[in-house]
């Protein structure tokens, strides 16, 4: 059964130095408040996995919390590069960053295989490209019926997955809606999980019998953090802060401006400070 905790307690109990951590969200519902809490609690030597590492991973990489990144597209969507990620890969600052690189299709299948308790996933992919030459985890199987050779990737099984969702009910059932990405799979594939939510309600108010719900007993810790996806967004609550995504380019470009931003906006703050970004669409 899901346990209701403060975000600080949830991170303290569930995220450990050296863990394989997935913070997922495909543009939507990215768990920024939780990422900041991981920075404040000074976790080290993490391996981060995520299809689309964006600003939140740029921040974790920039503070030196990350030894390795497993990913398929690392950029600031619609803006450009992730400067902290590039600095770590290209110049080893503040610590060298190893990368294990896949395609989106492979990563999505790898989470799906993890949720399905399979050791690997099969896809029609990686044909005629160079990634398999630099990633020994891209292998193949032969179809036992047709003889066709297909690509494989190992299942992703995070030590802990962290996501943000619209709401939970008091039993700990969680509703996701809109662009749901790979979050359900990432939680089901993980050993432990933390879900931050906009609100905790009496009635989940799922609009459809087929709504995307994580039942209470599949979730580890739940923390109410209104606004916790900012500058990402929460469908039905508040929009994406595109301005912040654009502003990040200048903040992250230099080490000093990045460090100053982290001090002021992460280290000197708490999860409650995200509440200012919370709102609910009419």
């Amino acid at each position: 059964m899901a346990e209701f905790l403060s975000l600080a307690d949830a991170v303290a109990a569930n995220v450990r130095d050296g863990d394989l951590v997935a913070m997922e969200g495909f543009t939507h519902l990215i768990p920024y408040a939780a990422g900041h809490e991981v920075i404040r609690q000074k976790r080290k030597h993490l391996t981060l996995v995520r299809m689309t590492p964006d600003i939140i991973y740029d921040q974790l990489i920039g503070v030196g919390a990350v030894d390795k990144l497993i990913f398929s597209w690392g950029g600031n969507p619609g803006v450009g590069s992730l400067h902290r990620m590039r600095d770590a890969v290209e110049k080893g600052w503040p610590v060298p960053l190893a990368v294990e690189e896949h395609s989106h299709a492979a990563m999505a299948n790898a989470y799906e295989a993890g949720a399905a308790n399979l050791p690997f996933a099969v896809l029609r992919g990686y044909k005629g490209v160079d990634l398999p030459k630099v990633n020994p985890n891209i292998r193949s199987v032969t179809c036992p019926y047709t003889g066709e050779v297909l690509a494989t990737v190992p299942a992703i099984r995070p030590d802990v997955t962290i996501i943000h969702a619209q709401r939970a009910d008091r039993r700990g059932n969680v509703l996701l809606e809109g662009i749901v990405g790979v979050q359900k799979e990432a939680v089901l594939a993980a050993k432990r999980s933390i879900v931050t939510v906009e609100e905790i309600v009496d009635d989940l108010a799922a609009p459809s019998p087929n709504s995307v719900v994580l039942p209470s007993w599949t979730v580890g810790a739940i923390a109410a953090v209104p606004g916790g996806a900012y500058p990402s967004y929460a469908h039905g609550y508040y929009p994406r802060a595109n301005d912040f995504y654009k502003a990040w380019d200048a903040i992250a470009r230099e080490r000093d401006s990045f460090n100053a931003w982290i001090e002021e906006n992460v280290m000197a703050r708490t999860a409650d400070d995200f509440a200012v970004h919370a709102s609910r669409a009419a």
Partner: protein
């Protein structure tokens, strides 16, 4: 009319390549502008799909990211990302995939991964994302990229997504049955793979652009089709609809979206 920018003609020409029958896997930036321009002009029935899971979306404004709320709110339905890549892209349900990249070679292979050695890159680019499987699982591929010697190169340091490989037969030898890149739309010209050699060949020059200018902007010795044409200029209507779209976008979230990489 001549009142348009190189980027605008690139977008307009890309839009013209699409029809109402297409089911199109849309990338952010120029592809997104082109696909939505097509939808707002001659291809109202086109089905636009973004890899965030949004199917048959009809955004009023261009998204900044591949997963903006606008895409979901105006979609017929939104599926999970594993389903998008399994049932929809790998399922063979997409007629046209739109790609761009940092670099391209004469066989329309693309690099969006690294410049320099992979383990010690000079420039670490964002990576492949959906591109490796878009390039082989969509019916055909359109590419939009501004022409420059740094982008159109003799040899790619890294192949992120497959075009025509090393020439005729490359795709078939890998068991790939889709067409691959059928046209490359730049800000100066349109290229298509030569039917025999599969090498990208200029088939039309945009109005006012010369063959010499295009040759200079390309990193390999560029070939021209025997029946080289002039690209029809954008119509007033096309430019009007495109600018209105971008103005709506600017008003909604500031800046000129849909132009960034």
């Amino acid at each position: 009319m001549s009142d348009y920018t190189p980027t605008e003609i690139m977008t307009v020409v890309a839009a013209r390549a699409l029809s109402s029958k297409d089911v199109c896997f849309v990338g952010i930036g120029a592809p997104s502008a082109a696909c939505n321009l097509a939808r707002l002009t001659h291809a109202p029935g086109i089905t636009l799909i973004y890899e965030s899971g949004t199917i048959d979306t009809k955004p009023e404004v261009l998204p900044l990211s591949i997963g903006d709320g606008e895409l979901c709110e105006t979609a017929l339905t939104t599926v999970s990302v594993p389903e998008m890549f399994r049932y929809w892209l790998q399922g063979g349900r997409i007629t046209v995939g739109f790609l761009g990249g940092a670099q391209i070679d004469r066989f329309a292979n693309l690099n969006t991964t690294v410049v320099g050695p992979y383990d010690h890159p000079k420039v670490r680019l964002p990576g492949g994302g959906g591109a490796p499987e878009i390039a082989t699982n969509c019916g055909e591929i359109f590419i939009t990229m501004a022409l420059s010697p740094r982008a159109f190169v003799e040899k790619l340091p890294f192949i992120t997504s497959l075009g025509h490989g090393t020439g005729p037969g490359s795709r078939a030898a890998l068991g790939v049955t889709t067409k691959g890149p059928t046209r490359v739309i730049t800000d100066m010209c349109v290229m298509e793979p030569d039917p025999e050699s599969r090498e990208l060949t200029v088939v039309s020059l945009h109005p006012g652009v010369t063959a010499d200018q295009v040759k200079e902007a390309c990193g390999w010795p560029l070939k021209f089709a025997a029946d080289l044409k002039e690209t029809p200029a954008p119509t007033a209507e096309e430019i009007k609809v495109l600018r209105e779209l971008q103005e709506r976008t600017r008003l909604k979230h500031g800046g000129k979206q849909g132009e960034a990489a």
